[in-house]
């Protein structure tokens, strides 16, 4: 008898995990569309592959753990992980790297820690970093955006490239690939060019690299949707973007010839995706409001530092993972003042 006692509240619950995840996927749609526009079918192929691999991996692990896979699949978290991963990697990544990444994300980073809610690291970013460190060449070979590419890949060409590694006839890698804006900035600054000279290049657009700036805008849009749906609060995205902006502004103010403007930083690489979709992953982020501000701002700062002086061109994944480790500690030291504690306003 006593074990059947069920505590209040006795009302229907208003939220559901799977709806939260579905909303996140919805918010990603503009970004997916824009990226597909600029970088071709490969992106969508990668999404499909990643989702398939992630769901398969999750199913297998749940079966091995002696549980119903449906419980884990129903919450759609594996799908979100897969899509975020596919959006972070080059759109022509060989299929087996996507497979490796998803196995790493789902098995090692998520399920070995206990599944959704228990993983200290963001699975998509951990997989990204794992692949970036292991296979840096494949992971840094980006396509040139539409309008700059000599030869935009057709659907079949992309598929062949991803599954087989077959290049379209008559084209070399160098003709298809192009450095990302961050890479190019770093490379040309290193050659001694000034920001103004670099900005003259045709690969440069309005806010950042051609094409890339619109990707950033699309993710910003999705982020606004998440904010409006109250699935995330402003704290992490705003503090992260502010952290990045502030650091970038400081160095830009010191020497605008050798340090790109804050606008460039905001609309290059994964800054927007990271701010709204990755750093805000509730499982691995800080949970207290003050903590979220510290968390976000630190990510922004670390992104700038790694972008400017680190060994890899973009840094959002590294920054997020680093702060994931710090999140519990930050949470511990930023607990809110509980009602009736300390100096209450009177």
């Amino acid at each position: 008898m006593p074990n059947s006692v069920i505590s209040s509240p006795h009302v229907p619950r208003v939220n559901r995990v799977d709806r939260v995840m579905l909303d996140v996927l919805l918010a990603l749609i503009p970004g997916i569309l824009v990226m597909t526009w600029f970088f071709g079918w490969g992106l969508l192929i990668n999404c499909v592959l990643a989702v398939t691999f992630a769901v398969a991996a999750e199913t297998v692990v749940m079966l091995l753990r002696g549980r119903s896979p449906l419980i884990a699949l129903r919450d759609l978290s594996a799908v979100v992980t897969a899509v975020l991963f596919a959006l972070s990697v080059p759109p022509i990544l060989p299929w087996w790297l996507t497979l490796l990444g998803m196995l790493f994300a789902i098995i090692l980073v998520k399920q070995l820690y206990g599944g959704l809610g228990y993983n200290p690291f963001n699975p998509a970013m951990a997989a990204y970093v794992f692949l970036l460190i292991s296979y840096p060449v494949a992971m840094t070979t980006w396509l040139a955006p539409a309008g700059l590419a000599e030869h935009p890949l057709s659907f079949m060409e992309s598929l062949r490239l991803i599954l087989n590694g077959t290049l379209p006839t008559g084209f070399e890698w160098d003709a298809l690939s192009s450095a990302t804006p961050l890479d190019e900035m770093r490379g040309k600054l290193d050659l001694g060019q000034t920001i103004e000279q670099i900005g003259q290049s045709q690969t440069w657009g309005w806010l950042g690299g051609r094409g890339w700036e619109w990707v950033g805008v699309a993710f910003l849009l999705g982020g606004v949707y998440l904010l409006w749906r109250r699935l995330i609060t402003w704290h992490i995205p705003v503090s992260m973007l502010l952290g990045l902006t502030a650091t970038a502004t400081l160095f830009w103010a010191i020497d605008p010839h050798t340090h790109p403007s804050p606008i460039f930083h905001l609309f290059s690489g994964a800054a927007m995706l990271g701010a709204f979709f990755i750093a805000t992953d509730p499982v691995t982020a800080c949970t207290t409001k003050k903590g979220q501000l510290v968390f976000g701002a630190s990510i922004g700062l670390i992104v700038y530092v790694i972008r400017s002086w680190g060994g890899y061109p973009d840094a959002v994944a590294f920054a997020v993972l680093l702060m994931n480790i710090a999140a519990p500690t930050i949470d511990y030291y930023t607990q809110p003042r509980v009602f009736g504690h300390g100096s209450a306003r009177t």
Partner: protein, 530 residues
């Protein structure tokens, strides 16, 4: 008496906001359309002999006694204690454990009274209509005698709350008419129908506490109640110090600490009471009961109960004697429209399930809620916490519910206290918004009762240690004394030879006889079992 010269303060009174809270469908329209009705007497009344927080009362009746309406059947045994009176005249058929309204569904001692239908009143004390001229102690004594306890659910003896310590000045009396839980409308109806009576009670409490201000907080989803109260207030001379404050509807603004925050901007310190910041808070029903006790000399033996929920055929508010079984109330409301999924005592956010249809109404039962399956669907299996933080956003105590949850779940009773478990008011906001459908409040309640049990065990073990030490010390002392005696005896023995003592033999015979007796009984027991 303060003479009202100053006009009532402006209606634009500043209000404060507490952290979090949620908006939920209030479902009050189900039951607030009908006037309070007096329910006919039930055939049997189970009157719990303790209906308050504090020291249990001492029963004054025996099985077979006849009792009169309003006769005291259990007397208080301490300062924080309250008497219980017979809700009607009749005969005490039994005094035995019976299910009482409690989350455990366990039984507690109750007096089973069979009404004689005559409703003969016992001799009541005289009304104290001239209370302003009387010694406040006398009035408090009357409220104490009447067994008035907090009727919003806490059931804390009201007379104690109305006895402020000498060291602290109480400046504000807050009357809680917020009634923030969905479904419940008993305070709403009471304010609409008996506003003047409530204000009489408020005036008595104002007199006792000598406060400067009285604030009556009512949520803005009860415009009729606000209007009725304002109308009644205009007809009294209390306007100079009393203000009816309309507050925004937001659950749980009816929580004592939240209401104080809304109305005054002050926070009751943790594990403290409102009196520490010069405030006393009382429920509107309690105010009415105080008026009954002082102005009419009547003890608290009946109350208004909302009987509602979509499973009830005709939801309404009933005025019922304490001790009435809930099945009787449901029958008075036309029975069930459909089989209820759950029967709840109290509101849906903080109430608890009732299992026995004979469970009686007590002084603090404000609502009986029969929820249809659509209103309270079976809880889905909980999913893992994804740390989304919604719970922290809605927590009115500004706690970190998920940290409490992790630690309560891991049964880490120390750390769960580090996260201020005992500031949780169990309002249920966190569980309501949790996307993983984790029964958060139950984890907190589990942890709280475990901690209490552990502390009790610790006290007990401390006591045992002391008693053990005392026994050791005593034995040692006795041993020394014995040694000393033996030495003396030896010296004496040296003088003259001793006579054999035969006391021991007598003892042995006795023990042998008893041993045989016990063995006999064991044999017969064993035989009986075969």
């Amino acid at each position: 008496m303060v003479i009202a010269l100053k006009p009532k303060s402006s209606p634009e009174r500043r209000l404060w906001r507490f952290h979090g809270g949620i908006h939920i469908p209030d479902e009050k329209a189900l039951s607030n359309g009908r006037a309070i009705e007096r329910a006919p007497l039930a055939a049997r009344l189970w009157v719990p002999l303790q209906q308050h927080i504090g020291a249990p009362g001492r029963p004054l009746i025996a099985v077979g006694d006849s009792v009169l309406k309003g006769q005291m059947i259990a007397e208080p045994t301490g300062f924080i204690s309250a008497p219980v009176h017979a809700p009607t005249s009749g005969r005490v058929v039994a005094i035995e454990p019976h299910p009482v309204p409690h989350p455990s569904g366990l039984s507690a001692p109750c007096a089973l009274i069979e009404p004689d239908g005559a409703e003969t009143w016992a001799e009541l004390p005289p009304p104290l209509a001239d209370y302003p001229q009387l010694d406040p102690a006398l009035i408090r004594e009357r409220i104490r005698w009447a067994g008035v306890v907090g009727m919003g659910g806490a059931s804390f003896p009201t007379s104690v709350k109305l006895t402020p310590g000498t060291d602290r000045e109480i400046h504000t009396l807050i009357i809680n008419g917020a009634e923030c839980e969905p479904y419940i409308t008993c305070d709403d109806r009471l304010m609409r129908e008996r506003a003047a009576h409530i204000l009489e009670g408020v005036r008595i409490m104002h007199h006792l506490l000598r406060v400067r201000t009285v604030l009556i907080g009512i949520e803005d989803n009860k415009p009729e109640a606000i209007a009725a109260m304002q109308l009644a207030l205009a007809e009294t001379d209390m306007g100079g110090y009393t203000e009816i404050v309309t507050i925004p509807t937001l659950y749980p603004s009816g929580g004592e600490k939240q209401l104080i925050r809304i109305l005054t901007g002050k926070e009751v310190p943790t594990s403290g009471i409102p009196a520490q910041i010069g405030i006393v808070c009382q429920n509107v029903s309690t105010a009415a009961a105080v008026a009954d006790a002082v102005l009419e000399g009547r003890p608290l033996i009946a109350r208004v109960v909302t009987v509602t929920g979509h499973a009830i055929a005709e939801p309404r508010n009933l005025e019922v004697p304490v001790g009435t079984p809930i099945e009787h109330l449901i029958a008075q409301c036309g029975g069930y429209r459909e089989t209820p999924r759950k029967l709840i005592c109290g509101g849906p956010m903080m109430g608890f399930e009732l299992r026995e249809s004979t469970t009686p109404i007590t002084k603090s039962t404000n609502c009986l809620l029969a929820l249809a399956p659509a209103e309270a669907p079976d809880p889905e299996p909980a999913l893992a916490c994804i740390r989304c933080g919604r719970c922290a956003e809605v927590c009115p105590a500004k706690l970190l519910p998920q940290q409490l949850y992790w630690n309560a779940r891991a049964k880490d009773l120390d750390r769960v206290q580090d996260y201020n478990l005992f500031d949780c008011i169990e309002c249920g906001c966190c569980a309501q918004v949790c996307p993983s459908h984790i029964p958060l409040v139950q984890y907190y309640r589990y942890a709280k009762t475990e901690i209490w049990a552990r502390e009790q065990e610790k006290r007990k073990s401390e006591q045992a240690r002391a008693r053990h030490a005392a026994k050791q010390a005593r034995l040692e002392r006795q041993e020394q004394e014995k040694q000393a005696r033996l030495r003396k005896q030896k010296e004496a023995l040296a003088a003259k030879p001793a006579a054999a003592a035969d006391g021991d033999d007598a003892k042995k015979v006795l023990i042998e006889a008893a041993r045989q007796r016990a063995a006999e009984r064991k044999r017969s027991d064993a035989a009986g079992q075969d």
